[in-house]
Amino acid sequence: MSGPGSSPNEKVVKQNEDPGDPFSEFTNAHVPAGSPETRLLSAFKNDTHTRKAYLAGRGKSAWKTFELRLVRKIKQQRSTDPTSRPEYPSSLGLTEFTRRATEVALGKSSRAIMEDRVLGVQTPGFTAAVRLGAELLRHWYDVCAVWSGPVYLSSPCDDSLAGIFQAAGIQDIRDYYYWDDTQRNVCLEKLLEDLSKAPQQSVVVLSASAHYPTGADLSQNQWAVIANVIMRRRLFPFFLLPPQALCYGDLERGSWPVHYCASQGMELLCAQSFSHCFGLYGEAVGHLLCVLKQNSLLFSMESQAVKIVRSLWAQPSVGGAHVVATVLSNPGHLIEWKEEVKCIVERCMLIRELLRERLRLLGTPGCWDHLTQQGGLYCFIGLNGEQLEFLSKKRHVYLFTSGCLNVSAINSRNLDYIVESIHLAVTTSF
């Protein structure tokens, strides 16, 4: 399992201390280890085994039908629309998109929305939303106190998160207890312990649903307790909501923690992605929302967000956001989309059931209940490093290095082989 904030091995290829070296301006740039995903994909591509399986992708294959029907229809309409104007969009993005994206996270009847104290900014993807949130915090979180962290990330978490905060200038990154290996679930007690010890004004990054990489989420009761600690300790919640609907097939259930905290009157940031749940991976559709305590702050926060955006990417791209906005504002499209999401989610749940059942039938040691207790596209299988290496090297089955796998990459053709492989990984002694 990768811990947050661990820096990759850096191999110094050629280092020359003299800046006057005539050879190159770029001498000081050494090769970092490639990202784990790049290496994995590379290994998979070079693998010639006939039964190889890549379970470390991001799940595009799930969307083929939807993409062919509705998304394409919308894109065609846009390309023939005489009123579409090629000019710079606002730095905040398409208004219709940010409006819908905000509603989808907070719920249409959210008090925060009705009181007009929510800032919504379209961003080029999820990473960009996190980056923008990090920059806003670094520049503007408690102006008097010259805040510079700490930011708490779950253990484990997406290993790119720490780098994003650091790139925004926040160096103090820490982790809080989340996944417990023995329980194969979240350990709330230890989580709360860590949060209770966090200094006031710490930022806490929380997965609203479909936690990556574990897939293990908190119950509503647990969220209520956590929210209490956050309020009591004056911590600041930064929610991650990448595959919102893909966990339960239900938009509202996926964003419940965000609704709840907003309804408690808390301020929060929330980074959303529409790439996953609209099959628009290539279009970089993200959103950052900020719930403020007072509407009087909205204009200044908006103006500062624009200023930061101008120095990062100036304006976001509109294509993907247009598709999302169109789907979310049209009741007919919305129904069609929800149906599609439901299918994908049900399929994922079915695969999880099958995985669990087959492992049980094989008598694979250990408890596999967590497979069906978790939800969403990603599943934390619970294997250790050696077992994972066995899977890729000996069985040509590739999982994320965190031990997480993409459920939607499993199908009737490879299920048996994969189950068998997992069984062997667990039972082989190393």
Binding site: F23, F26, V31, Q76, S79, R131, R310, S311, G319
Partner: protein, 413 residues
């Protein structure tokens, strides 16, 4: 629970001048209002223009079943990156043949500048040397400062460029700054169609600039947002960039396809990297990947696809060059007509600079009072610097604008 927001003392940031101008223009009810502010192309009917070739390619993309919608690689669409670099450096560029040219697809020209700035702030002139001065022209595109400052550079300074009195390039001043700045300083150069002055160095002047930069080990960072738009000819507009490459410079070139493809809202940019050798290039690109991963992770595909398909098909490429010529041609026509009308009106002063300047913008030489008169009394919106976007002129409003300039110059001091 505290009722105080953690953001309670956040001040209002100044609005972006050029967009505020457009907003004011939109709110103006005057029937003959004219918008000469924002830098986007407009047809003679005053409308934005979807390039015919772009429309064609969009249809191709939308009907192409084989295109998947996977995330693009972190560095972007390979076809786009290579063809975009070729456009800047030339098909037969020896640097490309020597495998020492690479690129990063970015979110528009801004994104390309951002990536370059972030890289330099980490790895240039010894590691993390954010005290290295970064020079931007006086004046320059107002966002240059913000991009480099936000990337961590502590010392962003102006280099002499515009001579307001003679309404031209202050070449002696420019050279002077090049000679006296600290070695290894970074210089942001406008590849062509300087924004906002429309005044470019001549080829001889570029040669002199290059000589000093080579001798004093200054870093070359080209900003190329108007290739094709300046003269109507892609190669001519890329002359300075190619000249520097031919001298053996390592450099960054931030390219934007917003204007020359009319893809303002798809955010299509490319950071072209010319390194000393393939090994250096490889290392630079690997570090760029890391930087991209913490900013937007994967760039958007639509715009890059359109550009890549166009540039890689001989027919579409020809059609595109034609579309670009149309735009550049209209600008040249407006320049000629404006100058003629001002001369016919007997407007005091010389107006040669209007046709001598190049690209979308013209630095009219109107002072702030005169600009205010134009905006408030005549409902003609231009930047406080006196910069006008020639694309905002058309056959219906050019008389009115010429007359207004005449009034401003004769009535207002």
């Amino acid at each position: 629970m505290s009722a105080m927001s953690v953001f309670f003392e956040v001040p209002q940031a100044a609005p972006v001048a050029v967009f505020k101008l457009s907003q004011d223009f939109n709110n103006d009810q005057f029937p003959n209002k004219v918008n000469l502010g924002v830098g986007a192309y407009r047809t003679d009917e005053g409308q934005p223009w979807v390039l015919p070739v772009v429309k064609k390619v969009e249809k191709v993309i939308v009907h192409d079943d084989s295109l998947n919608h996977e995330y693009l690689p972190i560095l972007g669409l390979p076809d786009f990156r290579s063809s975009a670099s070729k456009i800047a450096l030339g098909d037969d560029s020896p640097a490309i043949q020597e495998n020492r040219v690479g690129a990063v697809q970015c979110l528009g020209g801004t994104g390309a500048l951002k990536m370059g700035a972030e890289f330099l702030s980490r790895f240039y002139n010894r590691n993390k040397n954010t005290k290295t001065p970064v020079y931007v022209s006086a004046p320059t595109w107002e966002n240059h400062n913000a991009v480099f400052a936000n990337a961590g550079f502590e010392d962003v300074r102006p280099y002499k460029y515009w001579d307001a009195e003679k309404r031209g390039l202050d070449f002696a001043g420019f050279l002077g700054d090049l000679e006296s700045c600290p070695e290894h300083s970074v210089f942001v150069l406008h590849a062509c169609a300087h924004n906002p002055t429309g005044t470019d160095p001549t080829q001889e002047q570029w040669m002199q600039i290059a000589e000093v930069m080579m001798r004093r080990k200054l870093f070359v960072f080209f900003d190329s947002a108007y290739q094709g738009f300046a003269s109507g000819n892609l190669d001519k507009d890329a002359w300075a960039v190619r000249y520097f490459v031919s001298l053996g410079f390592e450099m960054f070139c931030a390219q934007s396809f917003s204007k020359n493809f009319g893809l303002y809202n798809e955010r299509v940019g490319n950071l072209t990297i010319v390194a000393h050798d393939a090994d250096n290039l490889k290392r630079v690109l690997s570090q760029m990947e890391k930087i991209v991963r913490t900013t937007w992770s994967n760039p958007p595909s639509q715009g890059a696809r359109i550009v890549a398909i166009t540039l890689n098909s001989p027919e579409l490429f020809t059609e595109w060059k034609d579309n670009v010529k149309t735009m550049a041609g209209r600008v040249l026509l407006m320049r000629a007509q404006l100058k003629t009308k001002l001369q016919a009106l007997g407007t005091p002063g010389t107006w040669d600079h209007i046709t001598e300047q190049i690209g979308m913008f013209s630095f009219t030489g109107l002072n702030p009072n005169q600009v205010e008169y134009m905006v408030k009394e005549r409902h003609i919106y231009l930047m406080a610097s006196g910069r006008i976007n020639m694309c905002g002129l058309n056959s219906k409003n050019i008389e009115y604008v010429a007359e207004s300039i005449h009034e401003a110059v004769t009535k207002v001091q």
